[in-house]
Assembly symmetry: C2
Homo-oligomer: 450 residues x 2
Amino acid sequence: MSLVVANALTEEYAVIGVDILSEASYWKIDSINKGQFPIKADDPKIELFYANARKKQNLYATFDSYAYSKADIIIVDINLDVKKRSSEINELQGYEVDLNPFRSAMETIGSQCKPDCLLLVETTVPPGTCKHIVQPILEKCLGNRGLKTDELKIGHSYERVMPGPNYIDSIQNFFRVFSGVDEKSKRATETFLRTVISTKEYPLTELGSTNATEMAKVLENSYRAMNIGFMVEWSRFAEEAGVDLFEVVKAIRMRPTHKNIMLPGIGVGGYCLTKDPLLASWSKQNLFGSKEGLPQSENGVRTNDMMPHFAYQQMKRHFDRSLAGAKVLLLGVSYLNDVGDTRYSPVEILYRSLMTDGARVTCHDPFIEFWDEERLEVEHDLEVVMASSYDAIVISTGHSLYKGNTKLIRAICENNRSMLLFDTIGIFSSEEIEQLKRSVRVKVLGRGDL
Amino acid sequence: MSLVVANALTEEYAVIGVDILSEASYWKIDSINKGQFPIKADDPKIELFYANARKKQNLYATFDSYAYSKADIIIVDINLDVKKRSSEINELQGYEVDLNPFRSAMETIGSQCKPDCLLLVETTVPPGTCKHIVQPILEKCLGNRGLKTDELKIGHSYERVMPGPNYIDSIQNFFRVFSGVDEKSKRATETFLRTVISTKEYPLTELGSTNATEMAKVLENSYRAMNIGFMVEWSRFAEEAGVDLFEVVKAIRMRPTHKNIMLPGIGVGGYCLTKDPLLASWSKQNLFGSKEGLPQSENGVRTNDMMPHFAYQQMKRHFDRSLAGAKVLLLGVSYLNDVGDTRYSPVEILYRSLMTDGARVTCHDPFIEFWDEERLEVEHDLEVVMASSYDAIVISTGHSLYKGNTKLIRAICENNRSMLLFDTIGIFSSEEIEQLKRSVRVKVLGRGDL
């Protein structure tokens, strides 16, 4: 978002990125100011936009909250986390939404901001947050500073960021939903968004209230999470019935009313789908006083969380001997194809289970050099890892690099004959699978016994 | 299906419709033979196809199973029901799948059919039925008759019937999925389907096994049922947060990945979506020996079943006085717009709740003269019912007749001023609602407090 604003379409902005000093972020601040953008992804526009901002000198990063006092527009993109409690097999057993870091960020802003600024919340928040939490805090802070509150503008507009090859476009060239806590907030938000988003091709959608935009965001993600959870369930059924769920889904998608039906896979990762249904359910109970949350949406998260555990069980069943001491190669540790992002990656559960059972695991990912969560060096040269032989190779992320890669297929076929190729994503075509089966054992998750 | 086969595209078939004699069906047999097609729907092709078959004299109905002995192709479209046990508020508490009527139909066919016929199952069955139930029964029956079994062909291809204005086209001009228990069964099924379906515009999809096609059917319907259940849940949340869920869904549908997100409504009815997820869950446990069913899919059914009860609670809250003695008009009793079908209609729960609370209820539906399940005469002239005044009018089915009907809107506005208009479908536009609100109180389910 900072890059998109620094490269606004019809306005020149001076962008200051503010973060708190933490182990996870301190180096990013430095990196941005020194000429190295800290996010890696398969989108050339990121480097382009960053280089352009460097040339114009309109992007700067700091941890100093004094920056807020200079801002006409403050865009809130800070994290709002859910703390999950899970069992050993990763089954969700409870969760907490801790709003305190978010509240304290609002207080910091309120202690510095201009009384007539536009505060634009883009964070995914529990529905009701702008009205019930942000507005009261900001008004109180301004009051304490002896300032008027009637010029303050609070808007909400969520990003629909899709990390990967269209990272920038998913912000700049895509539909946006917005609202504000009152009429002047709505107008200020709209005016700003028009300067940074291609609203001619992607018209803005204005909703009646910030409750509605906040709900739209968590509903979008809950829809995905729940639909994935649904397929996880059927994926298990397909395994039991020996049915190739990929051909079934392909047949079903011919119906326009069923186009969004998902494919089976290894589970859900990333920052959004793993928690947004819980934010919503929490809000229903805690901000709107309902006795009941959103059980179906919560169950989607529960089912998805357990999928990598189920995938591991399938792997074990098809490996048919002990994994202790076995050499295993994981192709991909990112939670999503063509992006270097390991947050809540389902591959984590697979990796840990393998380690617990004593396997010797090598990890490869073209986008990741160091796997933060596992404190692990990741190999990013495919040729290097494929030079060794393995007892099992797992396709654990659907990176383009692995897709239709004849060199990779050849290397797998030249591996030891008793090797198991376990494809959790369905990256290979039926023809490729036929070819592979001539040399190694193959199991594709969700395709029955082929 | 019988009309479509009698009007096949590239073949002339003599069609005999067979049903067992029951209170529900005896008159249909008579009716078909006497020149009156027993299904009413807003599709002119039904009358056209029926008249054409009458002219060609190639459609006849009977209860005599002797007919099977003359058939080259036997299409199985009989019911396979799920018996639900539900609480007073319609919460699903258990269910049974009784395969015995289906088994005994197979035995009747097996005792009469030619040994080389094609038995094409179109019934929605628990996945595994063709292989685990139909084939063994048929082969045993033929064996008992001293006949060979190696010429028998068993195929499965499910209909994607959408009752309503495109009834016939949903069979003849739409994508079809098929398979067979072996190669010759697949080919025979394909050959037959090509004669009745426009396969040039709507290519057939062949799947690997009947397990797969049977699963595809219940998966399609479970996908819908679960996605409706999901929105039921969010519809409640929207009511609590005062959010107009219709505008939220409209905003979300701009994303191609989210096009299939459903709209809120009064719940789910009809023969398929109310039971198919249960058939699937039952099959997983009983035909494939799994310890676990499909909890998420079952929960979709559970949530949907309870929606009309929730809708009634909303109605009561907005009516804000006792419904005892109140005059209430239900516009629509069918479970779906533009079709006369009351099977498992959610309006039933609404109607019964109103009756229990002592309301005086009038029912209108342009497609229904007699509501079988409630043993009730239904008024089908809208002008007649609108000549009276009411304490509440409920839009309970989304028939086209009620949509954009300025006469209806005028009649509602001329009703008594304290009247509540309760729209459970969202049939009125925002402008129409504004107009209505000037004269009567309006509550639209899922649109918050407007």
